[in-house]
Structures are given as structure tokens and as C-alpha cells.
């Protein structure tokens, strides 16, 4: 299964836009890019998923360039409650393939 690489940690001030980039050089044709958020003492929570170009929902935006070898999760105007670990995953749409988590990016929002 193709792996992803993302920064271990990031700091941001409240109110700023945060962009977390994930590299996935070996992404396969049937792979989607999926992001999860995890707060302390909770399980991961789905944020957003995309295949190409741009996807936006009420929580975040996901930017995927044409070659799909990387993706950027964008969180607009973060607040203290956005402090969490963010995981970038490749999920297979062609049938069964187990979902694996990497190290994630620990985002710390500073007042």
C-alpha cells in the first residue's frame, strides 16, 4: 500500500489559515486521499476526501494537483479547538484494501 509523508507537527495562531501538505508519490489510480482528525482521548474522525482538484466542505478544503503526488488540507481561521492530530491516508476505491494510518501531523493552535 502506498505510503504518505506529512510534517510531524505544526504551530499556528488562532484565526490563521493552516495548510498541511501530504506527499504520496506512489499513489495508485484507484486511491483516494482521505483526511482524519483526532482529538486527545478520542478516535479519529473523518474530515474530507478527494480524488483530484479541489474539494470543500463545512470543515476544510482539500487541494490536489493534477499529478496527485501530493495534497494540501486547508483549515480556514483555526481556533483553539482545532488543536488535534491530522492524518493523511490513501484509501482504495477498487475493492478491499486495509486502511493504514501514518504518523499524522500534530497541529497546535496558539492563542
Amino acid at each position: 500500500l502506498a505510503k504518505t509523508t506529512q510534517p510531524i507537527s505544526m504551530d499556528s495562531y488562532e484565526g490563521q489559515e493552516v495548510n498541511i501538505t501530504c506527499s504520496h508519490n506512489n499513489i495508485a489510480t484507484n486511491d483516494y486521499i482521505t483526511w482524519y482528525q483526532q482529538f486527545p482521548s478520542q478516535g479519529p474522525r473523518f474530515i474530507i476526501q478527494g480524488y483530484k482538484t479541489k474539494v470543500t466542505n463545512e470543515v476544510a478544503s482539500l487541494f490536489i494537483p493534477a499529478d496527485r503526488k501530493s495534497s494540501t488540507l486547508s483549515l480556514p481561521r483555526v481556533s483553539l479547538s482545532d488543536t488535534a492530530v491530522y492524518y493523511c491516508l490513501l484509501t482504495y476505491s477498487g475493492g478491499y484494501q486495509k486502511v493504514t494510518f501514518g504518523t499524522g501531523t500534530k497541529l497546535q493552535v496558539i492563542p
Partner: protein
């Protein structure tokens, strides 16, 4: 709609004892997954049920771990006998079955297992 629930939330046992963790998935979800994170490490896949059948148990560490999902509803994960290295947070997740694992996973809050 109730989410994925796990019981207990915390368990402290001594080495050599037996512990059983329980997961109740979202009603109607055919897929049920177990994951584990030991201290300082990544969240690791343990196994995957589709209804009552084990689709993939390649992540199970050894034969001290036994997972069941009788009737395709709730699942249990038994560790017998527990060892120190089994300490960690055990997560359960579920998803509907649309034929691929490119589905949103719904996670429970996990069971924190401490083996002393």
C-alpha cells in the same frame, strides 16, 4: 443515531490476566475494524470483519489475541494472557458496506488498556 461505542473505556490488569474489549458498531454497518496504538507509535490495523466473517486479520500480533463478531453485530477482542507490550489504546471503527474500503470510517473513543 448512536455512534460506535466501546467498553470499557479504561482497563488496568496484571500481566497474565485476561481482558475482553467490546465494540458496538453503528447499527447496519457490515464492516467492523479493530486498530491499536501503543505508546509513541502509529495507529496500527489489527483486523477487519465483514458481518461475522474475518475479512483480514493480518494485523493481529499473535495468537494471544482473539476477535469475534457473533451474529455480525457487536465484536469482542480478547487478550489472553495479557503481556506488558499489549498496553495501548484499542480503537474500533465501523463503516457501511459499499464494496470497497474507500468509505468513511466511524471510530469509537477507544479502550485504554494498561497491563502492569
Amino acid at each position: 443515531e448512536a455512534g460506535v461505542t466501546q467498553f470499557p473505556s479504561h482497563s488496568v490488569i496484571e500481566k497474565g490476566q485476561t481482558v475482553t474489549l467490546r465494540c458496538d458498531p453503528i447499527s447496519g454497518h457490515d464492516n467492523l475494524y479493530w486498530y491499536r496504538r501503543v505508546m509513541g507509535k502509529e495507529i496500527k490495523f489489527l483486523l477487519h470483519f465483514v458481518k461475522e466473517s474475518k475479512q483480514d486479520e493480518s494485523g493481529m500480533p499473535n495468537n494471544r489475541f482473539l476477535a469475534e463478531r457473533t451474529g455480525g453485530t457487536y465484536s469482542t477482542l480478547k487478550v489472553q494472557p495479557a503481556e506488558l507490550e499489549d498496553s495501548g489504546v484499542y480503537f474500533c471503527a465501523s463503516s457501511p458496506n459499499r464494496g470497497s474500503t474507500n468509505e468513511k470510517l466511524f471510530f469509537g473513543s477507544g479502550t485504554q488498556l494498561s497491563v502492569l
